[in-house]
């Protein structure tokens, strides 16, 4: 098991955004998370990646506990240095890319492996070029993010995340900020990663993509997991009325 999240609770002020969410991700799985706006999908990813702190619950990566809940029912994070180790297990691709604008494409991909993981520069450069080739961007290595289309920027962001060799990669609506004609090229590389058995969790509004690529689909609404299952049963043999309603809105 790569990721395990148990009984996650998270509130913003008085607003309960995640209410007792539990799920896990096995190696090689591609899990899609779908659900209406405001249902807590982004918050769930942000909690999984420690950008937000959970109030209660348990988070484990590769059987290493990162967050546990004490007797008082409050979440307790492991020490800063332990957490830093756990952070090595995952990567995150943002909706709006968040590339570093002052770094070239190649430097965006290379910098973290070199200055964070302290790996040898030459080796990292070769791997980075290989990744860019995979993203069909090897001829844009010297470009700056502002010179790229949104789809190209997102592919650089994916290469940047992969360069750290994460065990699991999270995507938060990776194509939502893109023009419709550019979503395809990004979905294509994610699909390619799925074929290579990269473990991924993808929050998406692209239903055909979720159906085609996922090994499991999770439907979230109002801070709870309403239904989950393999894509054929979730889309083809929907159990919950709330899910059916949501999917109906996407038929058009």
């Amino acid at each position: 098991m790569i990721l395990q999240m148990n009984s996650i609770q998270k509130s913003f002020g008085g607003l309960e955004v995640l209410k007792d969410i539990s799920f896990h991700v096995d190696e090689g799985e591609v899990v899609s998370i779908i659900g209406p706006s405001g249902s807590g999908k982004s918050t769930l990813l942000r909690c999984a990646t420690f950008l937000e702190k959970i109030d209660a619950g348990e988070i484990r990566y590769m059987d290493k506990a990162a967050v546990t809940t004490n007797e008082a029912g409050r979440a307790e994070y492991v020490s800063h240095s332990e957490l830093a180790k756990v952070k090595n297990y995952f990567g995150l691709v943002f909706q709006n890319f968040n590339l570093f604008p002052h770094y070239s494409v190649l430097k965006n991909v290379m910098d973290a492996p070199v200055s964070v993981q302290k790996r040898p520069k030459e080796e990292v450069r070769q791997e980075a070029m290989e990744l860019l080739r995979k993203m069909d961007l090897e001829n844009r290595a010297d470009a700056y993010p502002c010179q790229l289309s949104g789809g190209q920027q997102q592919r650089v962001a994916i290469a940047r995340a992969l360069a750290l060799k994460p065990n699991i990669l999270f995507f938060d609506e990776p194509t939502s900020a893109l023009d419709p004609e550019l979503t395809g090229e990004v979905l294509k590389v994610i699909r390619q990663l799925a074929d290579e058995k990269m473990t991924m969790v993808v929050v998406t509004h692209e239903m055909p993509f979720a159906r085609a690529v996922s090994s499991r689909v999770i439907f979230m609404d109002k801070g709870v997991i309403v239904e989950q299952g393999d894509p054929e049963s979730l889309f083809g043999d929907t159990q919950e009325e709330r899910t059916r309603q949501f999917l109906r809105n996407y038929q058009r």
Partner: protein, 215 residues
Amino acid sequence: MTFSTMLATMGEGMLRTCLIFFLTLLFSLPLGMVVMFLRRSRFTLVREITKIYIAIMRGTPLMLQLLMWYFGPYYLFGMSIRGYRFPAIIIGFAVNYSAYFAEIYRGGIESIPRGQYEAAEILGYSKAQTFFKIILPQVIKVILPSVTNEIITLVKDTSLAFTLAYNEMFSLAKQIAASQTSFTPFIIAGVFYFVANYAVAFVMERIEKALDYYH
């Protein structure tokens, strides 16, 4: 007095003016960074005190501040202020300009999107790496035009050192003009400030150009 002796006398003043200028920048640019961090402190008390400090620095005449820095130690503590003229000028200028720079830095820092910090955090950068590698270079680009404005103001503000009877160029110009009943020193002074600011604008434009490779 011939034109060349006039120029020679004023030339010495120009050196002093340049000294005030460069020392002020040398101290106020980094000091502004410190003030900015205090202004953004987690602690409300620190933040509020820094706010008041900045308000005073920006809300009272620099001329008055220079007088306070120079005469303050004598009137408040009865200390001897002999030989303290030049340090008082540099302290007055540096402390004043650091308040302006702090606010410029703060504007720059706050213009950097949260996503930059989050991306850096996910990639494992330390707090220091995030600041120096990711945030600061972008901040520098953003604040450059405002910093240029401030530096140009400083060139002209150096003349305020006359308040403490320091013989920088502008004071000398006035003295010579009065004793020689000549208008020429003012013209020389004007040309000097103009050329100095032209040089500042030139250098800053070069730096801006060098950072033009992204936006």
